[in-house]
Symmetry: D2
Subunit: 466 residues, 4 copies
């Protein structure tokens, strides 16, 4: 069988009521590529006539020919940008998907993962449903089609009442867009406005680039329909405690975005400050792994009083470079991304801030690189707790076996990385960083405690499987 | 809504039990490109693991990278080559399609058109089915999935018992291929063998290129399943008179193929001979429009005793050349395809043989070209009757309004083309060309009499619509 | 060092005084692709402003984007289409070349081969010339630049007075085109007219497609300059006997072209007739290898009274298909090009006409294919004498060692091909086919007698080297 | 005529004595792309056999197919990465160039601009030289070829003794590389070593990525030849005062490189410190325009005691995005590159550090962006003096007319940008930043005083022309 595909790490965008809908979607997707840049697609409705263009590659590659945009006429559009594995088979999984049912078109763009996809798929297949992709997003379309309701918003609500897990969704009909967020509110989804034009997007940086203003988030469990006439709102039946993904704050979202109603930048700053308070160290300078740890590093520097420095330069041209497996250039994968600044590091005791450690392989190479540049001491400080458990709600993470902190103590990791000291932010400190109540977050990757049941596969826990 | 797509003009191929299944499918498709060369695809099963590659363009373009073939491991494969309109939306309609239902994969390649596709689609949609393509082939997959039977062959039989119209189909499961032909037997489908390897293909020229021998046709209404162990056969319920498409003989099939059990070349030769008998003319030479009318021209020359000549050279490099709509080169579309041989035509009374006239625009330009090359007289002889009605069974034809013979008498067409005389082969003569009984053919494009009911759309006859 | 490149097998085109100069050049090149279709280029002058586009691939591929043509503004253009080996290094050899010297641009397109290129290159290099391509055409540009004359036509005459061998050249300056042919007149070059627009081309088929009329050939040793005001003519100093390439008539030119003032079609017809007279055979049918031998086959059939048949179908989609070296499909290279028509060949005694045999490998496979299709006897008849010596004047041929007729007697070849009989047209008969005096042709590939001295390389004859 | 091309903004690389010479060159070029990323090329010598691959696009695009590297066998290689305008005509200007003269190959890669190129070109053309590119680099090849010396190093010295202006060059012969720097030493060129392998590169960051160690710079006026046996050095005749480009330190080089023997990072830090001393301001935070002003910003923050902040996020995916000229998204060109961090800027008095202001248009948009994000005050501080005069030595700058500081006073610019204050670093302070003597730099873009005569064109100063 074709391999199942996980829709994690995606950006979604939707717009209603602008004559350049496709072009604005293009720029919206452009700014969301940190959430996935391996494929992109835009679909528009021009008075019920549907236009689609999608393909593998970065947004600017997929739409490199300006005709590809100008063909997409219409005042309504949705778009998707996504991380995906390569290979021809993954072509079928590029979003948005479009279906027709009962002679009416429906397009969908999805960020997140359903946790009951196997159950739903089995149930649908037993009723004769056929699946043409390997994505769980297709399940939602089948559920919408099997609803007895007549209005799209009701059909979608029907469908989503069966879905469990993480979904921030944007739909397009002939004359409207709909946006929905799962009851836990795992992944972000924001509403913006620009004149009489409504937009929705995974992050508010997509509003900034086109000049739209943030209005509010789609609420957890909310489903809205936007037409040129305005917004209509409804709610899914399931009532659960909010469990917004804390990793969006730690690493995933852009610092200039507002996510779950807070500025990502401010939160990262606080994480850095708390890290300095919990784990101070005698040193000369503090540097961050660019660019994701930059803000936390500033916070650490402020709180600790250590001198902030730029010790690693990030290569702007990190494209899909081929790395010959027989290559003799040691640690080339890290070298094509970063270069140390010797003048900064030489003979210094260096605190290095990173947002998280997953497998530990990159960290190990960076430490070596920093030492080779002459650092006297290297102290790693991580602005989040150890990652010990995989994510089932839309962040691409390796299996439990591959997570270094799941298998080693901090002392062991310290030794493996070759650092003078390694410290992580505590779980409590992390949860206190936001002005929202502690319990509103999902921090399962740090705690191993999931806000909902993860079904076993073949009698085995999926912790080891995905 | 997305535009509906007609799967006419296609070539299908399937193979079981060869370690180079994908490569042989490639060459099979290669030889079937006269049936459609705008997109191509191959799917293989390697012990249940499915591999797919498809794309827009000629077969050699889609598989220009030899990796694309070598990735397609497995001893079982099916392929499709197809005519289709351009535009990104048509990407979704490139065959083979693959679905999963009840955890089992099924791939399909289709040549033909269903006539009850709207009925079926409406019925399926009302039960919640979703459609991701605009092709009627997807309907068959839904019907298969909704069968209560457990074996694929029985599910497919169930599905096809609901289908009306033309279908020559090849399916692939994890470990077998299935082939089916509609009860009228509109489109061809042949079975071949090469050692222990079984193949099926639209035409036998696909067997020749890979060295397989023709065994027999899939019978009208038959459905077969081929595994490495052998062939199993079953029949659809509907019993109707055979109505094989006579246009395959007139124009569509390759002359070196055996179609409906007879050599196409021999039949075309006979058509030319009968044309000479019915419509002799005093002239110096007889020429054909290359390459489709070559064989009928030889027959006409033999029977009439007129000298066979090559009066038009066909350009080998007719690629997708851009033709500037503002171009000032008159009749450029015909000139890039053909060039007259002046030495042959000058001062001659010329009989020109063509297989058929559809709109008449190309014929008109060719006549002018032949006259400009110095021909004294031009007598057009057509090796089939006037086309007066569109096809609903898999041949791409314009609407009744656009068919010149549907709107003009032979005398009027004669005048419009600017020929000294124009004559068509009679309907009776055409039907007598094969050794098969007259009544076994569909000649509806020549007679306007369809072997089955063509549903009206919105209360109007579809004759004017498609 | 980079490998030297031979500019054989090329088509050249030039046009003066048309607002769609580039577009007409495109169609001219399009019709000349039988002379080479591996790269193409067009250069225009828009009041002295030079525009160029060139690339690897067929003409329609290189100019697939209509922008590539529309960018080429100006009323003057020249173009080139060429056979070349693949590989990035050959990019530098794609013509037309453009140079600037003394602040004035000059573009060149070349069909033919210089025989004294090594001498000239050495002499130029010793004076400090640098070479950026591996093509002998660059030498001509250096010679032009080193002329002391002030007018381009005089500079070019100066340059060409030093050149030996075959050259049919088209040059473009800011405001004119120039055309020149070597004193032997090896390769064709014709002048045409269309209203007030002048054109030159390798063959007249390029005039037909754009609607121009043939005026006359550029004479051997002539050099002409065409401006919107008209044609100016001059002659090179060297006076030698004309030696037009007879192989243009045998195989290379299109049958619908006029070459060296005669219709190619008529000459091929006569070759076929003479072949029938010299080498009759008891048989049932006569077939030709399509498409190059078609006309000679008609001549043979007429003269012999044997029935003309189409026994081999040529695949229209012969693209650059990959042929896996490990492939198990026997004789695949021939099968992708041709398919036998069994109904025609079965149980027949077949005369097969071909224009020439080079290595004999394709002929051998075709014979096998024809026998497998059921032919009782196969008699090969070649409408030219045995090829025994390579060409140094612009036809791509293998070394003497690889030429089958250079190493085997006719009886031996007969046996190797597996034919019942093999006969070649006699040298005298071949030379008598034209209305021109016998001595005006170069038939060195058939006779081994070259009309000019071929310099040795490293003390060895080049017959074995190139 | 074809437009002349300026080879400014280039990176060069060369390597001798490594079996993976092409691959290491690839990574060297990869790290030099900040010096130009519009085209790239690599040429290798495999025992005298030359292999070349080059094309338009980023290094990873040009060599996206790993075959393109593996084909480039040999232990000697040079490479070039370059800024260039688009369009087919620029294909001919992609470096390295390869020529053959006297049967010996020579390849060249050039960073810089000759100032006497018109003189040299006229002189060469009058002697019959032809030019196939529009690049001044081709002149050097002609000069090499016209040398009477026999050794390449002497020929190149001969050639370069005629050249004026800026040139950091890498040549490749069959068995060696040569590197040369103009007597002023305008552009950098460094020598590195890795085991027994020698490398040269524009900047030392190219050594870091492959693991080579910096040995020394090629001295101004020096020419070296490197074979596997070692380095040979010679000097050009002209003796002039060193005039290394100070703009390499200000903006162009990577901060992690050592240029002209000093760490770029350290110098930028000092520039920032001096800027703070010269132009302090009462404010809340200091931010830099990422990434080029980052280091100077740190210096300013340290010296001033103001809080360093990250106020602008740079988009990692700034690809070649199409910007519709009719677009209605205001200041889109800046928005696709940067996004302000509102949380940082809101209600703050902000010092913004940039390295330089050229036209002022981007600065103006950034100021607006920063104000829109809520900044209370915006104080621009530039870590270099006003740019008042164009560069003729290899930095791409607009004409004097377009340079904002050439036409406006600081007060006027202040007003135009809409800042509360604008201050530039003084010329003296800038020159004092290095440990090298003041007079060893070219700071003509800041002073208008050129270290050598810039020839007039058509009697007019070129200050207004280029």
């Amino acid at each position: 069988m074709l391999e199942p595909v996980i829709n994690d790490k995606c950006g979604v965008f939707g717009i209603v009521g602008h004559k350049r809908a496709a072009e604005l979607t293009y720029f919206g997707l452009y700014s969301l590529q940190h959430r996935g840049h391996e494929s992109a697609g835009i679909v528009t409705s021009d008075k019920g006539r549907i236009h689609l263009h999608k393909g593998m590659g970065e947004v600017s590659h997929v739409f490199s020919n300006s005709e590809n945009i100008s063909r997409l006429s219409g005042r309504i559009a949705i778009g998707h940008t996504r991380y995906s594995t390569t290979g021809a088979s993954s072509l079928i999984n590029i979003q948005p998907f479009i279906i027709t049912n009962k002679s009416r078109p429906l397009a969908i763009a999805h960020n997140g993962n359903l946790t009951n996809s196997l159950d739903l798929r089995n149930r649908l297949e037993s009723k004769g449903a056929i699946f043409q992709t390997t994505s769980d997003t297709e399940i939602i379309l089948h559920l919408v089609a099997s609803s007895k309701k007549s209005k799209r918003i009701d059909q979608i609500a029907d469908a989503l009442n069966h879905a469990r897990g993480a979904f921030s969704l944007v739909f397009m009909t002939e004359d409207s867009i709909l946006a929905a967020r799962d009851p836990h509110g795992f992944r972000p989804l924001a509403i913006g406005k620009m004149g009489r034009t409504w937009v929705v997007a995974s992050e508010t940086c997509a509003f900034d680039i086109i000049g739209a203003k943030y209005v509010r988030d789609v609420a957890p469990g909310e489903i809205i329909e936007i037409t040129p006439a305005g917004i209509k709102s409804a709610f899914l039946k399931q009532k659960v405690k909010t469990a917004s993904c804390i990793f969006e704050y730690i690493y995933f979202a852009r610092p200039d975005s507002k996510v779950f109603g807070e500025n990502v930048d401010k939160i990262r700053r606080r994480l850095g400050r708390m890290l300095a308070r919990e784990h101070p160290v005698e040193a000369d300078i503090v540097i961050g792994i660019p660019d994701s740890a930059n803000t936390a590093t500033l916070g650490y520097a402020e709180e600790s009083g250590l001198k902030f420095e730029i010790g690693l330069i990030r290569n702007h041209y990190v494209g899909r470079t081929f790395i010959d497996p027989n290559q003799e250039i040691r640690d080339l994968d890290v070298k094509v991304k970063f270069n140390p600044v010797k003048g900064v590091l030489e003979n210094r005791r260096v605190v290095v801030i990173d947002d998280s450690i997953v497998r530990g392989t990159t960290a190990q190479k960076l430490v070596k690189m920093i030492r080779n540049a002459g650092a006297k001491e290297v102290h790693f400080r991580i602005s989040s707790p150890p990652i010990i458990s995989p994510c089932f709600f839309g962040i691409d993470m390796p299996t439990k076996q591959e997570l270094i902190a799941s298998n080693m103590s901090v002392a062991q990791i310290e030794k493996k990385l070759g650092v003078d000291s390694l410290r992580y932010l505590s779980h409590d400190a992390m949860l206190s960083m936001s002005s929202l109540p502690d319990t509103s977050f999902c921090s399962s990757c740090f705690s191993g405690k999931y806000p909902l049941r993860i079904p076993k596969i073949n009698g085995k826990s999926r912790l080891d499987k995905i």
